[in-house]
Amino acid sequence: MAKELTFSEALREAIDEEMARDESVILIGIDIGPYGGAFKVTEGLYKKYGNRIFDMPISEAGYTGCGVGAAMTGKRPVIELQFTDWITIASDQLVNQAANISYMLAGKVSISLVLRGPCGGYDNAAAQHSHNFESWFSFIPGLKVITPSTPYDAKGLLKSAIRDNNPVIFFEHRKLYYTKGEVPDKEYTIPIGVADIKRNGKDLTIVTYSYMVSKSLEAANILAKDGIDVEIVDLRTVSPIDKNTILESVKRTNRLLIVQEAWARCSVSSEVAAIVAQDGIEYLDAPIRRITAKEAPIPFSPVLENYVLPQVEDIIEVTKEMID
């Protein structure tokens, strides 16, 4: 049996189930207690687990570091950043501290920590509330980075992230929070590091993740009318990255297009391109292409923002160029 949940509700179910299952799971963040979170992810949880939910001052470095210390002393903190744009402020605690501690202390301690929150644009929120920083953190050994695209994936992956014995950064695209999808009644988890083929096709592979999965699916449905059959690989996790699924798909379709909301330079899309260039160049019948944000801060004006960020039309256009 399954039910329909929003992305936000699916995340809440994951946290609720994990808090019920394991007393060491605690929540840290701002406005996450009685207020229920800016995007309602923790709504109602305070009534059930009030003694394990800590509303914090606006101190991203301070409370993220508290999460690291709590993790070192037996807790499994789930930290909410109200917007992951502010991960810049928390970064020392993630990059220099959380990612390194287990290694530097000779594996004597694990940092079981999840830092989660909204990312992304398309919402006229301008440059400081539209960022996608997954590429930065996928660069760091010791961190894992998850970027789900559906309520089903969000729930299964967040449960795995909470149970994981490493620091995990969990990026939730804000345009997805109120999208709906089927979620099983029965408990399930999704392994970290496994991609999912969201659409089977034979002509071209789109490797993508997060909100760009829905843009890519929309483009694929339009392209299908022209007889172009696109396969869509949803990475779901950008660190570790599922090389096999990418390479197997490209082996079948012989064409690779990478669709990513964030800027192109030194990004996840660069990594995917490098993987295929290195280990699958013989599969390719056309050069690898990328659709990403143009290199500018994300502007407020809808006209400007839509110009900077990838659109369905861009995916259709580039796919057709690659097929021709």
Binding site: S59, G62, Y63, C66, Q93, L105
Partner: protein, 316 residues
């Protein structure tokens, strides 16, 4: 405090002094990396750590050898770590700046000034959630008090009444900068009032004073759920920021502080009290000299890590 406890404090202070002097010699004879000497500040680590239990936590800094010895670490595993050997506390992955013994409740040293302050605070949060009577001693220098993490973490600890004692080792300098010249107030302890918690100033070269003030913060506040305390220990590092760095500090200032040697001072106290005499003192010193020499021998004879060790424990 009984006489045996005082002698143990004295031994730990001497261990730090002799370990650090030897580590400096080792650096000059080919040991890799850098070391930040704790010489001159021994009364802070020993006074504070003598006021807590074995199951309490500490967080340390880049100048962390003293904290570790005060928390009961073995000199052999420390020297091996300084040499990057597999037998070191961190299996050679941390070196001097990151040396930490998790099994002794040391929640990391830190190469980032102020980086450990939120971590100590988070450990305090765990203790509070579990309803335990443990405490956390959070060590940092005067340079760290202008970092955001100091203010953010102390506010959080004050709000949630966490059992954390923030111990500032005010040695007047951050690398080469005289810190009072970049700080708007003379006394760091004054910053406590901004968070509604007690701020104490203590003579950081007087081990018994450090002990008494820490004990008060630990037993009468932290363990009773009364929340954090900020303790400013006024002290001085005898040597340069790191071993081998240049020293621009006024020679008269250095001489003035060396005259306030915390070890000589405590020795005088112990002799006056009849707890120590010259003969016993010499026995203690020769015992420590041997322990340090054995630690060097252990480090030098220990194997290097296998190369493949570099890729272990990246993920847990």
């Amino acid at each position: 405090m009984d006489t045996q406890e005082k002698i143990e404090m004295y031994i730990k202070m001497l261990k730090i002094r002799y370990f650090e002097e030897e580590a400096a010699r080792q650096i000059r004879s080919g040991m890799p990396g850098f070391i930040h000497s704790y010489v001159g500040e021994e009364a802070v680590a020993v006074g504070a750590c003598s006021a807590i239990r074995e199951d309490d936590y500490i967080t340390s800094t880049h100048r962390g050898h003293g904290h570790l010895i005060a928390k009961g670490a073995q000199l052999s595993k420390m020297m091996a770590e300084l040499w990057g050997k597999i037998t070191g506390y961190n299996k050679g992955r941390g070196g001097s700046m990151h040396i930490a013994a998790y099994e002794l409740g040391v929640l990391g040293a830190n190469g980032i000034v102020g980086g450990g302050i939120p971590i100590a605070t988070g450990a305090g949060l765990s203790i509070k959630i579990d309803g335990l009577d443990k405490v956390v001693l959070c060590f940092f220098g005067d340079g760290a008090v202008n970092q955001g993490t100091f203010h953010e973490a102390i506010n959080i600890a004050a709000v949630y009444k966490l059992p954390v004692i923030y111990i500032c080792e005010n040695n007047l300098y951050g690398v080469g900068t005289y810190q009072p010249s970049v700080r708007s107030v003379e006394n760091i302890a004054d910053k406590a009032s901004g968070y509604g918690i007690p701020g104490e100033i203590v003579d950081g070269n007087d081990v018994l004073s450090v002990y008494e003030v820490t004990l008060e913060a630990v037993e009468n506040r932290a363990r009773k759920g009364e929340g954090p305390t900020l303790i400013e220990c006024k002290t001085y590092r005898w040597y340069t920021h790191f071993e081998g760095d240049k020293d621009d500090r006024p020679p008269k200032e250095i001489a003035k502080w060396k005259a306030k040697d915390p070890i000589k001072r405590f020795r005088k106290h112990l002799i006056t009290e009849g707890i120590l005499n010259d003969k016993k003192d010499q026995e203690i010193i020769s015992g420590i000299k041997k322990e340090v020499a054995d630690a060097v021998k252990f480090a030098l004879e220990s194997p290097e890590p296998e190369k493949e060790e570099a890729l272990l424990d990246v993920y847990h």
